[in-house]
Symmetry: C2
Subunit: 215 residues, 2 copies
DNA sequence: TAGATTGTTAATCGATTAACAATC
DNA sequence: TAGATTGTTAATCGATTAACAATC
C-alpha cells in the first residue's frame, strides 16, 4: 500500500496555505475558490489545486473549498494536531529568543528543557523552563519523550551535540548552527542558516542595482 | 548588453559553496575538483560545474578549481566585498539575538541602529548600538545610508513599518515577521518564517513514522 | 438545468544530470 | 604527450501551468 511520495516543494508551500487559510477563517470567510485564493496568495490556481490534490480532494466542484475544513486538514497533514516536545540546546541570545516565542506552543510544540554548558546560565529560567548543564542532556532526552532538539550552539559543538541527541532517541533537529549535520537516515533535520539567507538578500540588492545601472 | 538572469535556485546554493570553500581554504587546501567537492557537499559534480559556469569559468581543465580564488569570486558575487549598513526594527528577544550576532559584521553587514516602540527599551544598548524610539526611524534611515532593515516586530505592525522603510529609501528587508510584505518592485525581501520551517520539520517527522509503520 | 469550479490529464517549462569535446 | 578535468551541449527528470472533462 505504497503512498506516493509528496515532493518537498509541495510541503514547503503548505505552511503558507495554512497561514492564509487561518486568516480567512478568522475573518469569517466560509469558502474560497482556487481562483480567489490564487489572487490573494499570488500563485497560480493550477498550482493550488495540484498541491491540494496530492492529499486527496478537499474541494467540491462548482463550490470551491470550505475554508475551515481545508485549514484543519492542512493542519493535520503538517502534524499540528499532535504534541511534539522540544528542547533547546544552547541558551544564548537566539536560544532564549526561541524559548520565549509563545506561538510554537499554540501549534503543539511544547518547550520542555534548555541546556547550556556555561555554568553562569545554568539554573536560570526561560519562560519557566530551567537551564540545565549539558551533562543532563542525554538522560533528559531519554526520560522526557523529546522529539525535537533546537540546536542554537556555535558550529564547533554542533556535530557532537547532534550525535548525542541521536543516540538518545531524538527524532528531529532544528538546526541553527552553521554546519551541515551528518545524521543517520530517519532523523529529520531542518536547517535555518541565517547568514545564508542574508547573503541571498545581499546578492539580490546588488543584482538589482546593476540591472538599474543598465548593465 | 543583457546578462542572462541567474535562477534563484543557483543563488540559493552559493552561500553553501562559499561556506565549504572557506573551510577548505582554512584547512590550507589549494585546489579542488568538482568531483571531490561533490563528494564533500553531497551534490552532483555536474551541478557544481553548471552553477559556477553561470558566472563564467572559474576553473581550469585538467586542474580543477583554485580554492582561494573561487572563494573570493563567490564572495564578490554575493556582494560580500561591499558594505551594507543595516538596522533592526524590533528590540525583542529575536532582534537582540540578531544584533548580538557578530558574524554578520565579518561579511560586511554593519549594525547601525535599533528601534522599538517600547519606552522601557529605548535608551538601552545592544552591542554598543542604542535602541531608539520608532519616531526616529524615518530620519535615521534617510540620514545614515541604511540598505537593509531587519524586521523583528510582531506581524501586526510589520506591514506599516515596511511601508515607512520603503518610503525612506531602504533597499531590502530581512523579514522575520510572519506576514508576506507588499513592497514595490525593486525592494528586495527575504523572508525567514521560523514557524513555517518548524511545520515542515513536523511534517517530516510524522511522514517518516507513518512510513515505518508500513503504511 | 445551467453555471461554476474542481480534479486530473496533457503540455510546457525549467532545473538537474549525463556525456563528451575542448583544453590545460 | 597523456591524463585529468573543465566548460558546455544534449538528455532526462521533475515541477509548474494550461486545458478540459467530470460533477456539484
Amino acid at each position: 500500500m505504497e503512498e506516493k511520495e509528496i515532493s518537498q516543494a509541495v510541503i514547503g508551500r503548505l505552511p503558507r496555505y495554512f497561514r492564509y487559510l487561518g486568516e480567512l477563517k478568522d475573518e469569517g470567510v466560509e469558502r474560497i475558490s482556487s481562483q480567489d485564493l490564487s489572487e490573494l496568495m499570488k500563485v497560480t490556481a493550477s498550482q493550488i489545486r495540484q498541491d491540494f490534490n496530492n492529499f486527496g480532494g478537499f474541494g467540491q466542484q462548482g463550490y470551491g473549498y470550505n475554508v475551515e475544513y481545508l485549514y484543519d486538514e492542512i493542519g493535520k497533514i503538517l502534524g499540528l494536531n499532535r504534541r511534539h516536545n522540544f528542547i533547546i540546546v544552547g541558551a544564548g541570545n537566539l536560544g532564549r529568543a526561541l524559548g520565549n516565542y509563545m506561538n510554537f506552543e499554540r501549534r503543539g510544540f511544547i518547550f520542555k528543557g534548555m541546556f547550556d554548558r556555561d555554568p553562569e546560565l545554568v539554573g536560570k529560567c526561560v519562560r519557566g523552563v530551567e537551564i540545565m548543564p549539558m551533562e543532563k542532556l542525554n538522560s533528559f532526552v531519554r526520560e522526557n519523550d523529546i522529539d525535537i532538539a533546537v540546536l542554537t550552539i556555535p558550529k564547533a559543538g554542533a556535530e557532537a551535540a547532534a550525535e548525542q541527541l541521536v543516540q538518545n532517541g531524538i527524532k528531529a533537529i532544528w538546526n541553527f548552527a552553521h554546519v551541515d549535520l551528518n545524521v543517520p537516515e530517519g532523523i529529520q533535520v531542518e536547517n535555518v542558516h541565517l547568514s545564508d539567507s542574508l547573503m541571498k538578500l545581499s546578492y539580490n540588492i546588488d543584482r538589482y542595482e546593476n540591472e538599474q545601472a543598465g548593465k
